[in-house]
């Protein structure tokens, strides 16, 4: 998809791919043919610009046909560059503004409890979104309401628009902050499949009446070494020739 546009939030997508794989092939309950199925686990993309990554997952999961891949970011496409709920099956919210997904998730969880539903709500957010006060309003609220059906997944890649997150507005100690607000917090290597699987399993089965967060330390550009090492990786422009090279590396065919 990045090749279609020549640019995009590729770094984040590559870094987050492992997390999405665990979500869509292990954790989430859903029906590919019926993305609005009432019994589904809801998966909110609060970090709207990760849409490119989510589309890849939705395509692999069979929610979106593979042919649509090349319409990414084009006019009249169902795959806009920033995730928008009215456009795309399987896209629950319009996340572009950032900091909104978790508050929305709180409302959904309250509603699911009122309906006595056993469904979970997963909210995917970035470490940068932790700057937004609205996130902390939701964090406190979820704890107060004992929303044990809420699972937040934070992509900790230490990058945002104006530089490294730890320098823009640092957030460490991260787990301690969530715990002090009453959440169960796990912190894992977001590119290690076994650790991720354990963490997601535990988040679902934990009996404590608390919301739970999985803090995933990821490496931007993971899987394509020449992108892994790139500075200023928040929004990447890639030369035409490099796309082919990247695909080769990911397929295991080329030299990194």
């Amino acid at each position: 998809m990045g090749a279609v546009q020549g640019q995009g939030y590729i770094g984040q997508a590559l870094g987050f791919a492992d997390v999405l794989a665990v979500l869509y092939f292990r954790a989430l309950h859903y029906r590919a043919a019926d993305p609005a199925w009432e019994g589904r686990d809801r998966c909110l993309l609060s970090v709207g610009h990760y849409a490119i990554a989510l589309y890849a997952a939705l395509i692999e999961a069979g929610v979106i046909p593979a042919e649509e891949l090349e319409t990414y970011g084009c006019d009249t496409s169902r795959l806009p560059m920033s995730g928008m709920a009215p456009y795309t099956p399987g896209m629950e919210i319009t996340g572009g503004s950032l900091g909104q997904g978790l508050p929305i998730a709180v409302g959904m969880c309250l509603a699911l409890k009122a309906k006595r539903s056993g469904c979970f709500v997963y909210n995917l957010l970035s470490d940068g979104e932790l700057n937004e006060g609205s996130t902390w309003e939701a964090v406190q609220s979820a704890s107060h309401w004992k929303l044990d059906n809420l699972i937040a997944v934070v992509d900790v890649n230490d990058q945002q628009a104006d530089g490294r997150s730890s320098q823009v507005l640092s957030f460490e100690p991260l787990a301690a902050r969530w715990e002090s607000f009453g959440w169960d917090a796990q912190r894992v290597d977001g590119n290690n499949m076994a650790s991720l699987v354990d963490a997601f399993d535990r988040a679902r089965t934990l009996q404590d009446p608390k919301p739970r967060v999985i803090l995933c330390d990821t490496l931007m550009g993971k899987g394509v070494p020449f992108l892994e090492m790139r500075d200023k990786a928040h929004f990447i422009r890639v030369d035409a020739g490099e796309w082919g090279h990247a695909l080769e590396v990911l397929r295991g065919e080329g030299v990194p």
Binding site: L130, N131, W136, Q140, L169, S170, R177, S180, F181
Partner: protein
Amino acid sequence: MVVAPPEARARPFLPMPVAGLREMARINRMDTTNMFMAAGNGHFGSCFSCAEILTALYFSVLRVDADRPQWPERDRFIMSKGHAAPTLYSALIRRGFMPEAWIDEFESKVGVKLMTHPSRRYQPGVDASAGALGHGLSLGVGMALAGQMDQRNYRVYVLMGDGEIHEGSVWEAAACAAKYGLAQLTAIVDANGYCVDGTLDQVLPMEPLGAKWEAFGWEVTEIDGHDFASLVPALDTPRSGSTGRPRMLIARTVKGRGVSFMEGVRSWHSDVITRQQYDRVMAELGESLP
């Protein structure tokens, strides 16, 4: 009406003994009550819970000068819980920033200078307008940053309510203050345990409060917000450079403290006052020290 001694009004810095501070807190509550009587109603509970805090600040801690409200080296104070403005007005009046006559005019006359919420436009000695809640800490961060840039040694104090810290904007400022190591910034939470719609626990509990602020990188102290022996040293932090962490002072207080029939009673968050109630309040305040 009792007046502060002349030396309290004129000098930029005055440490007062505890007996003197207690007297000023009593005057603060009386002034507040008189303002509410002039207006017909007021935020009694919210004002009485922070009377000692304001008194400690203006009579033992803040380096301010009534003759020079804009003195560049002054300590700054932001009354982020703006609806308790009368406590601030009383302290500023007794320190000589504003005339005593304004007490009787609170909210009640055309062209009045003292209204429900503090206004930097109209009130000498007030560093920030307030009212919407959740803004003051961000303002304080900005002032502290400016102080760093200008290499001035002033301290910045922000007083918030405990309901106020529900606002996400407070946590944005908290994270930022820690990032910049604003050790000259002290935030105080008047933890009286009440919001509009109920107790803090009923509306949106925030305990453990200290743990949250520590997790956000602040140095936290908890004290009895009515005890001057604890308040003054906790507030009077050194005016040194910013290598450390910002400070959070959690002041445990009683809403409506100082008047027996108001203590801990939620309806006195904001209420009308009759002549009979006024007389009872003034009799209690006049009789004994808090």
